[in-house]
Symmetry: C2
Amino acid sequence: MPQGKPEYVPQDGMTTRERRNRPLVIVHTGPGKGKSTAAFGLALRAWNQGWPIGVFQFVKSAKWRIGEENALLALGRLHAETGEGGPVFWNKMGEGWSWIQRPGTEADHEADAREGWEQIKRDIAAETYRLYVLDEFTYPMKWGWVDVEDVVATLRDRPGSQHVVITGRDADPRLVEVADLVTEMGKVRHPMDRGQKGQKGIEW
Amino acid sequence: MPQGKPEYVPQDGMTTRERRNRPLVIVHTGPGKGKSTAAFGLALRAWNQGWPIGVFQFVKSAKWRIGEENALLALGRLHAETGEGGPVFWNKMGEGWSWIQRPGTEADHEADAREGWEQIKRDIAAETYRLYVLDEFTYPMKWGWVDVEDVVATLRDRPGSQHVVITGRDADPRLVEVADLVTEMGKVRHPMDRGQKGQKGIEW
């Protein structure tokens, strides 16, 4: 993206510096690839700033984010050892739990998702992290497991300077409304269209 | 994305394993955010697989990818020290060069871009890397500085198992055609619409 100037400067009483550092809610949605990948790419920038990063993974399969998890946790260890960058905390809700592929009733998954959201709320209230990656968090909202209005109010009223990135298809319009930055990843062509299966290093 | 099965299996004589590990050309294009960020997210997965990664940055501003650069180079150093993950090589063409903001004639930038592409061709021929991130490489193609047909032929005929990710707006249709995976990042809402300027940790 070209380094553009804003098309207008709002009369909101904020200084440029305040406006520049306003914490953001970012949503990556749409049917295409790259929603989560771009969120973890953002985590690289946050790490470089020394920000505490909290990843909350609403996983579908234990292996799917293993590359990002290993690399980001390696960066977190590097921080612990050398002080470079920031700390990284990786929260897998229900550890290995999956609502698509693994055994377990829907009620269990719903309870896991709710508990995960309650933990996120506690962390936001305590300003535990500077960047939150809520990976595939649109789905528990879509399925009614987590109340969208509660999410919107929590994000809108969050204290301090906490950036929140939420990924997943079918973002609720109310979530889109509260977001500062929304990107729709559209599928143009995908290898599965040609009979390609997922592969290590690319899909996980 | 759900872990789907391909809708059909092509009769191309490849085994499932061969097809699974077929190297990919991936394009992130469109006007939205996340094109480069998702490419650097892919690099996390590649690092975790121990793949040599070559980043070629057609930079607009020295600071814009500093977060990704510092974090990925930190992972590369970790590999050198502990053997964990893979090596990372970060190539800034013309080191600090920018065709938008810095002094210099257009001819210089064109020459830099061409030389960068020649280096990439040499690396692809030598199978230097397993993942190439050609960041904002659509622009020198768009501006006629690098020949699209040469890029397409080089990608199509590349040896071994080399994955190539190309980012930038306005990907040439011929590049889209040769790609295995194309994602269009669409802008839904951007903070600049509200008078927000870029900020550290988020934009770089």
